[in-house]
Structures are given as C-alpha cells and as structure tokens.
Amino acid sequence: MAGRGKLIAVIGDEDTVTGFLLGGIGELNKNRHPNFLVVEKDTTITEIEDTFRQFLSRDDVGIILINQYIAEMVRHALDAHQRSIPAVLEIPSKEHPYDAAKDSILRRARGMFTAEDLR
C-alpha cells in the first residue's frame, strides 16, 4: 500500500454505501476484506461492531464513514477510539437526520468547558 494512500471505509445503509461506492471508495478483491458494510434489518450489532473494530485495526484505512444511527449502536467502541487515524465521521441517514448532540467529537468538545476546568 506504500505510496497509494489510505482507504475510506463506510458502514451504512444501502443507499449510503451505494452512494459512496459510486464515488469510488470501494475496494474488494479475493485477497482482502471489503472496506464497506451494508447494514440491513437482519445485520446484528455484533457484526457491525466486529467490522468497525476491523476497520480501526487496519493501517490502510484513513477515514471511516458511519451512519449516526449505526454509530449509536456501537457508541462505546467509538468513544474508546482515541487515535487520530482512522478518523471516524458520523453522517446522517434517510430516516435519521444528523444530531450534533450525539456526535462523539462534538460531545467531547462540549465537555471541555465544564465548571471544573474553569476553576
């Protein structure tokens, strides 16, 4: 992968994954795991979490795009991720608009300015 840059992974519903694959981020060949996961009604939380952790552990993934309602299912794994790369971006889905109050990054930023910090 030297000199090729890092991949963009996506975990989302059908439309989100199809859209970003249309954008050209998809990688799939017989030797490697795909860098995307389509979450359907019968996709288990375990499967989502395993895929998310897999993407986090890959050193060739630079950004992970994840629908926010799916991120809520694996929020504990997101909050535990402290490294800068891969960067995790929460995006809305058709049925669930983006809510800044749930975003891990913005929650941490809001939590900075607490009474204890300003004492």
């Binding site: 890092k6 990688e27 790369i85 971006l89 058709k94």
Partner: protein, 171 residues
C-alpha cells in the same frame, strides 16, 4: 511574565479551537447537504431504472478504489488528510526543510510499468447507458468525499486541542 505568556497562548488556542468548531459545523452542514442530494438522485435513478436496479446486487465482484486519503504532516505536527484520486501525482513540497536546491534534471529514472487495468468507473456496474440522475448522485457523493477529508482534518485538530493542550496549560 511567564504566566502572562501562558494565558496569551491559552487564549489564542481557545480562539483557534472555536474557529475550528465553527468551520467544522459549516463543513458538516455542507456534507450532509451533498449526501442528501445524492440520496435524492439515487431515488430518481431507481425510479428510472427499476427498484432493484440500483443497489448491492449490482456491486462488482472486484473493486479498485478510485479515491484515497493522503495523510501529510502540517507545520504544527498534526495530520492533514486530503482526499485525492488514486494514483494521482501529488506535487512534491519543497519547503524550508529542503537543504539543497532541486536539480533541474534529476537522475534518470527507469520508468515504472504502468498498471495494466485502470480502476473501473462504478457507474459501469449499473449498465452502459445510465440515467443522468445516477451521474448526479456520483457527483454529489464525490463532493461529499472531498468534504469528508476536510472534516477529518478539523476533527484531528480539535481532538488534539482537547487532549494535549488544555490539561498542560491548566496545570
């Protein structure tokens, strides 16, 4: 005097953090807008081609990424993420770190063999003649990917400011 310097630096860091948060909010709104445009275009394409004609059933069995993320180090030491076309030549940055001038004619390099197959345009998965709405969807999501790179860089800067700077200066 030292305390005043620390306060001044802390003030500038807080201002930078607030500016980054504001920029992040604007880019997020833009990304969400692009993604929503993309969904609408996908729905229009499905209406034209059939409900089952735009979805995972059409994904190729082999895919090569057309875009990737390049990480570079900014002057402040933080990672800068840029979304670029895969295989695009990134201009070499000649900055203060370069001790010697670049030679006009560098040493002759043996040409690397080009890859035999270019990455296939994902539009081809859906047929030869695709509706305009599908091309529009592709354009929307490509714009979204560029914004994703900028948002990722901002998030890295904001997280760094939270984790490193403030505990040190507040001590």
């Amino acid at each position: 005097m030292a305390a005043r310097d620390v306060r001044t630096e802390l003030d500038s860091l807080i201002l930078q953090l607030l500016a980054d948060l504001e920029e992040l909010e604007a880019k997020r709104a833009a990304l969400n807008g692009r993604v929503e445009e993309g969904w609408l275009s996908l729905a229009q394409a499905r209406y034209a081609m059939g409900v089952k004609s735009v979805g995972p059933l059409q994904y190729a069995s082999r895919m090569e990424p057309q875009v990737c993320v390049c990480a570079s180090e900014a002057p402040d030491g933080l990672q800068n993420l840029r979304v670029v076309r895969a295989g695009a030549q990134i201009p070499e940055e000649v900055g203060p770190r370069e001790a010697a001038l670049r030679r006009r004619k560098g040493p002759t390099k043996t040409p690397e063999p080009e890859s035999t197959t270019a990455p296939q345009d994902p539009l081809n998965w859906f047929g030869i003649l695709v509706p305009h709405s599908l091309r529009q969807a592709q354009a929307s999501f490509r714009d979204g990917l560029q914004l994703a790179g900028d948002i990722a860089t901002l998030q890295i800067r904001i997280s760094w400011g939270q984790r490193i700077c403030f505990p040190n200066f507040l001590q």
